[in-house]
């Protein structure tokens, strides 16, 4: 089946370093990708997204890179802080929502396994 996976399940960095979290996807039809952050005991929180017609998007201290040739997604966090310690999930949207006669399907969002990021002071 189609899935989204991560190369590294854990990542430890020093405060102030840059972090790179990687994600591989297998569905070439996916048109939208999202990164979520999940802190202990909480629900996932949206970080940044990117559409398949882009290869880079920047936010505040975060950058997402998309390489469609090799079906690879990465999240870069600049100047990592202890508060960035969390589990990071990538997710792919493998098709547009379809609504019509009897149709109520949504854009299917498939999550990866997650990477644990630990930031040491």
């Amino acid at each position: 089946g189609e899935s989204v996976g991560l190369h590294l399940p854990t990542l430890s960095v020093q405060e102030g370093d840059n972090s790179i979290i990687n994600c591989a996807y297998s569905n070439s039809a996916s048109d939208y990708f999202i990164w979520y952050k999940q802190e202990s005991g909480k629900g996932p929180q949206f970080i940044i997204d990117i559409r398949s017609n882009m290869d880079k998007r920047q936010g505040q201290r975060v950058t997402v890179l998309l390489n469609k040739t090799v079906k690879h997604l990465s999240l870069q966090i600049a100047a990592t802080q202890p508060g960035d310690s969390a589990v990071y999930f990538c997710a792919e949207n493998s098709g547009p929502a379809r609504e019509g006669a009897g149709g109520t399907s949504y854009g299917k969002l498939t999550f990866g396994q997650g990477t644990i990021l630990t930031v040491h002071p």
Binding site: G43, F46, D49, S105, Y106, F111, Q113
Partner: protein
């Protein structure tokens, strides 16, 4: 406060009992979802709903029932709980736009003994 809330946050029950997890959102989002999160499996979709009275199965629907009589509520019921349903359950919602961004609740940790 506006947002998406789940209750209970923690629940312990016994095999065979019926359990209902509640989810309430104040954004009037059309789409609502239930996921379960387990080590080694990430987030897996149980059921989703595109609007009131419209629900559909996700990846792992067996053993679960949902309803959506009102837009703001999306309860998840385990009709006869099994140990394999021990998990953390997350409710999520989004608006009608064709994007995948979901807003998640804080989760409900369910233990089935």
């Amino acid at each position: 406060d506006a947002g998406i809330t789940q209750s209970p946050r923690y629940k312990i029950t016994e095999t065979g009992r019926q359990v209902t997890l509640m989810c309430h959102q104040t954004w009037s989002h059309s789409y609502m979802f239930w996921y379960r999160q387990d080590l080694g499996h990430g987030l897996r979709l149980i059921y989703y709903s595109a609007a009131a009275d419209i629900t559909d199965k996700g990846e792992v629907p067996d053993g679960y029932v949902v309803s959506r009589s009102k837009t703001e509520n999306f309860p998840l019921t385990l009709e006869s709980a099994t140990r394999s349903q021990t998990s953390v359950y997350f409710c999520a919602s989004r608006d009608r736009r064709d994007t995948g961004e979901l807003f998640f609740g804080e989760g409900s940790r369910l233990t089935v003994l």
